[in-house]
């Protein structure tokens, strides 16, 4: 059974690249472009992991992250963000994110960290 991953980002080109890479690695994917649809999708799709952009239109990534923790099956959460301040990183981790990745990131590293998380490691 392949792991289910939900990609949440409003930048189409980033979505395209992640979609390509993760499909290549054999994951089951869904994409959302804003917080609302991300939460809606998450409750149907039961993803094992969510790649979550912080700067989203409407509900922002931090809030989505907080609400994902209330799902019956709590997914692993990787926050993707252009904000690199320590305070923001801590805030993300505090809200239950498993990993905080600053843009621009290496896709190779990201794939490795995703695999690691899904295998039960700490990224």
């Amino acid at each position: 059974m392949s792991h289910r991953i939900l990609i949440v980002d409003d930048e189409p080109n980033i979505v395209v690249s992640l979609e390509f890479l993760l499909t290549q690695s054999g994951y089951d994917l869904r994409v959302a472009h804003d917080g609302e649809s991300a939460l809606r999708l998450a409750s149907d799709f039961h993803p094992h992991l969510v790649l979550l952009d912080v700067m989203l239109p409407g509900i922002d990534g931090f809030e989505v992250c907080r609400r994902l923790r209330q799902l019956p099956q709590i997914p692993k959460v990787v926050l993707l963000t252009a904000r690199d301040r320590e305070a923001e990183r801590l805030k993300g981790l505090d809200l239950g994110a498993d990993l905080y990745v600053t843009k621009p990131f290496s896709t190779r590293d990201l794939l490795g960290q995703v695999a690691n998380l899904l295998a039960g490691g700490a990224g």
């Binding site: 409003d10 930048e11 189409p12 080109n13 980033i14 395209v16 690249s17 992640l18 390509f20 890479l21 290549q24 472009h33 804003d34 700067m55 239109p57 252009a82 904000r83 690199d84 301040r85 600053t102 843009k103 621009p104 990131f105 290496s106 896709t107 190779r108």
Partner: protein, 919 residues
């Protein structure tokens, strides 16, 4: 004709009733249910102002002068309705200082000076004795009138002298019983006040009774009476307002002062006042009383003139003569009792007030030193004895005055002479209340001067005129033939009636001396302290803040025994217990009295002996701390310094509050700016890193997946290029913005027609516009305005706005560029038919990285800084930029630029030809 025995028994019965009322008043007071606590009693007792003068004399005056009798009542009305604030201050001070009389008040104010107290007391006695004589005359003559049944002139009658002597004796006994009945001498007499209030009711009822009878019994109502009077040529004049107005004003002012300064008025209004709030009530109740008692004065006067054409009937007796003439004996008896009540009320209060002054200000200061050294354990009794003797002397003097002059002249003119005497107290009193600098010497000099002029211009001429003395010529020729010293025309001032003339000169000299002498000489320490206590009475918080004038090294036992000699053991014990209870210590255990206790004892004594005597008495046991003026000034200075410092502190703290508020605001602004900066940086990072992320991701994908099919590869490479462009554009914008902000980007202005720049900007979008089938209108006036701008920057603004419009307009939509010129400003607008900008965001769209909420995700490239740049450029050119709704519901971005002066481009040949060719 009424039997003398009926009259005498009625009079004695009435006086007995009065005594019962007084007794009842005292009983109620002792039982703690004081009648005097009622403001109506206070207001009625003020009616003691209405003596026989009012009761008989007003009618006499009205019979010859019409309503000229009125100012004497308008003055008090004004005093109580308007000047009650002044009265309130006097009452407050008198309560604090336990003032016993007007003489005590002035003496206390001016350094507890026994000299000044004696002067005022002496002046009051001399000034008021004729007034008392007037009451004796009224009672005696009305008595004889009743007995004989006709109104012949009684002035030189032997029976009159006998009668008046008996009347004076009876009244003296009565006043003694009333005013000095109790052994414990205090400044207040509640029983007497109750009786006086009762008398006010009696005289009011009696006067109204005769008034009603005359108006409605004798005639058929006031209209009838006035019609009859108007028909008589000699009476018609009484019904109109007549001058001389200046004497109206003088008498108004005089009675204004008299109602406060007459010893009996001061006694009732101030000394006997139990509650300051009664003044508020009296401010309308007392004037109301005066109004009612005067209602029938004019009708009675007119009826009298109509009834008695014979001038031998004294108009002062109309009130009685009228009922007698019609055989209304019982009404006449009631009127007699009313007149009796008016006279007795006046005589009782006046003699009590005067005897207090005589004993406290004249006799006691002389006796005190020797008496204190003597063995007499009960000085209070001695004081009482002095007062009783004083009452006898006062009434004796009144009787003597009446006997020797037969009280020539009308009731009113005699009364006014007394008024003018007590009016001399006014300058010192008023200055004492409001001017700290008024000194004892100033007050003394003013009083002496004023009283001397008063004596020279009023009683002396009256005496001279009545006698057959050789001095009579001084009235017409002046003393020793010196014309400008004529008593009724001093310094050649003529045309005033004697009262106005006397008042003018006496008050002028009085005020002048008070001001001059006070300004010339310094105050002593005690004067200074008293001046402050009086003038600042409302500012004083508590007794403890007062300047200690007594040295503390006095045994309590000495104070106690001194008090006991005046007040008796019981009252002394009560007063001292009250004091120690309020201070919270046991007096039995204290050996030495402190300054506060001595000051308390002094005030306690002052309530009995007056301030000046109290000071002398205390000085016999306590050491007076003679503070030097310097020491006192230091104290005063320290107080004012403390006040000044606390004011400065308050001011400082207000300033600090203001500063702190400003700082808080500034801090809030800074925090807001900091937040904006953080937002800017975060958005900036986001805007820069997002394309970088894509570029890196696709570069890695292309690198790691060489097997990708070609179309995929091309697609990914295009994305890389696109993101690269986006990044470049963003970086250019940031750099532009920085340049414009630093001012560097706005150098190199040139004069250019707007048309040209609009054409250039529009031209750059020609391809897209055509491709998307957009309707693009350019609406420019025939003579397109010229501006002086940085050409490239304005083009950049136009391009930015156009590119926004293109982004948001509908498919195959509409865009319009408008140029207009008005009031020296060129206005350029770019409108579209898109969704528009919501009202709430119209200001913030020009902030950096602000994106309008309606934008779809992924469709926002390029807008982040575009409008910010437009804003900076326009403002840099001295214009404004804003957004509004377009005619088709979309957005309409408008900016302005300063127009070049019209003349300048009119004269340009090419502009002129362009205009011509178009015309």
């Amino acid at each position: 004709m009424i039997s003398p025995w009926v009259i005498v028994s009625a009079a004695i019965g009435y006086l007995g009733l009065l005594f019962a009322v007084a007794f009842w008043g005292d009983r109620r007071s002792l039982a703690g249910r004081s009648l005097v606590a009622n403001p109506w009693v206070y207001s009625l007792s003020l009616g003691v102002y209405c003596s026989a003068w009012t009761f008989y004399g007003s009618v006499g005056r009205a019979a010859s002068g019409g309503i000229a009798f009125l100012p004497v009542y308008l003055g008090p009305t004004l005093a109580f309705s308007l000047a009650w604030i002044l009265l309130r201050k006097i009452v407050r001070i008198s309560k604090h200082e336990r003032i016993t009389s007007i003489a005590d008040f002035l003496a206390s104010r001016y350094g507890k000076s026994s000299r000044l107290g004696a002067l005022v007391a002496g002046a009051a006695v001399i000034g008021v004795v004729p007034y008392i004589a007037l009451q004796l005359k009224a009672i005696s003559s009305t008595f004889l009138l009743l007995v004989r049944g006709s109104g012949r002139d009684l002035g030189t009658d032997l029976a009159f002298d006998r009668t008046s002597f008996v009347v004076a004796a009876v009244l003296a006994v009565f006043a003694i019983l009333f005013g000095t009945r109790k052994l414990d001498v205090t400044e207040r007499h509640e029983g007497m006040v109750t009786a006086i209030a009762f008398e006010s009711v009696v005289k009011l009822v009696a006067f109204l009774a005769v008034g009603l009878w005359v108006t409605y019994g004798l005639h058929s109502g006031p209209q009838d009476l006035f019609r009859k009077a108007a028909a008589r040529p000699d009476l018609a004049g009484l019904l109109t307002f007549q001058g001389p107005w200046d004497s109206w004003l003088w008498i108004l002012g005089l009675s204004f002062l008299a109602v406060i300064l007459l010893p009996r008025q001061f006694q009732i209004a101030v000394v006997e006042n139990t509650n300051e709030r009664h003044l508020r009530k009296a401010s309308w109740q007392f004037p109301l009383y005066l109004l009612i008692i005067n209602l029938f004065v004019l009708p009675i006067a007119l009826a009298g003139r109509l009834q008695f054409p014979n001038p031998a009937i004294d108009a002062d007796t109309y009130v009685l003569s009228l009922p007698l003439a019609f055989g209304q004996n019982s009404l006449a008896l009631i009127v007699f009792l009313g007149g009796l009540s008016a006279s007795t009320g006046m005589v009782i209060v006046e003699s009590v007030a005067l005897s207090t002054m005589i004993s406290n200000e004249l006799v006691f200061p002389l006796l005190l030193r020797s008496a204190l050294g003597g063995p007499d354990p009960n000085l209070g009794a001695r004081l009482l004895f002095v007062r009783r003797l004083s009452i006898l002397l006062i009434l004796g003097a009144g009787q003597f005055y009446l006997y020797s002059t037969h009280a020539e002249g009308s009731l009113v003119s005699l009364g006014l002479i007394s008024f003018a005497a007590v009016a001399q107290f006014a300058p010192s009193l008023i200055a004492g209340l409001y001017w700290r600098g008024a000194t004892h010497r100033g007050a003394f000099a003013g009083l002496i001067g004023g009283l001397a002029v008063w004596a020279y211009t009023l009683p002396v001429p009256a005496y001279v005129a009545s006698g057959t003395s050789a001095l009579a010529s001084m009235l017409s020729d002046g003393p020793f033939g010196i014309g400008w010293l004529r008593p009724h025309e001093l310094f050649g001032v003529s045309g005033l009636d004697p009262i106005s003339h006397s008042l003018f000169w006496s008050l002028l000299l009085n005020c002048g001396l008070l001001l001059a002498v006070s300004s010339y000489r310094q105050q002593s320490a005690i004067e200074h302290a008293q001046a402050r206590r009086f003038v600042d009475v409302f500012r004083r918080r508590s007794e403890t803040t007062e300047v200690p004038l007594w040295s503390a090294a006095t045994p309590v036992a000495a104070i106690r025994s001194l008090l006991e000699r005046f007040l008796g053991a019981e009252r002394t014990a009560r007063a001292l217990n009250r004091f120690s209870a309020s201070r919270g210590f046991d007096l039995e255990k204290v050996v030495f009295a402190d300054g506060n206790l001595i000051a308390y004892a002094e005030r306690l004594l002052a309530g009995t002996t007056g301030a000046a005597s109290a000071r002398v008495a205390l000085a016999s046991v306590a050491q007076e701390r003679e503070l030097s003026v310097g020491e006192l000034m230091l104290l005063v200075d320290e107080t004012s310094k403390v006040i000044a410092t606390s004011r400065a502190l308050e001011e400082k703290s207000r300033a600090l509050e203001r500063t702190s508020l400003e700082l808080r605001r500034a801090n809030e602004r800074l925090l807001e700016l900091d937040r904006l900066k953080d937002d800017f940086l975060a958005t900036m990072a986001h805007e820069l890193r997002t394309p970088l992320t894509s570029i890196r991701a696709f570069a890695e994908i292309l690198h790691d997946h060489p097997e990708l099919e070609l179309t995929k590869q091309r697609q990914f490479l295009e994305i890389v290029l696109h993101e690269n462009e986006r990044l470049t554009r963003l970086i250019n914008q940031v750099l532009d913005l920085a340049k414009i902000e630093s001012g560097e980007g706005l150098a190199g202005r040139e004069e250019i027609a707007l048309e040209e720049m609009v054409a250039e900007a529009v031209g750059s979008f020609a391809g897209v516009v055509e491709l998307r089938k957009i309707e693009l209108e350019v609406r420019c006036p025939a003579e397109c305005p010229r501006v002086e701008v940085v050409r490239d920057r304005i083009v950049q603004v136009l391009v930015n706005l156009l590119s926004n419009a293109l982004k948001y307009c509908r498919p195959a939509g509409w865009i319009a560029v408008d140029v207009a010129e008005r009031a020296g400003v060129v206005e350029i607008a770019v409108a579209d038919d898109g969704p528009g900008v919501p009202e709430s965001e119209r200001r913030s769209v020009f902030e950096r990285f602000r994106q309008v909420g309606v934008l779809g995700a992924g469709d926002r490239h390029g807008i982040g800084l575009g409008l910010s740049i437009c804003h900076e450029v326009v403002v840099g050119h001295g214009g404004r930029i804003w957004v509004e709704s377009s005619e088709r519901g979309g957005a309409r971005f408008v900016f302005t630029l300063p127009a070049l002066p019209a003349t300048e481009h009119r004269v340009r040949p090419e502009a002129a030809t362009a205009a011509e060719s178009q015309a």
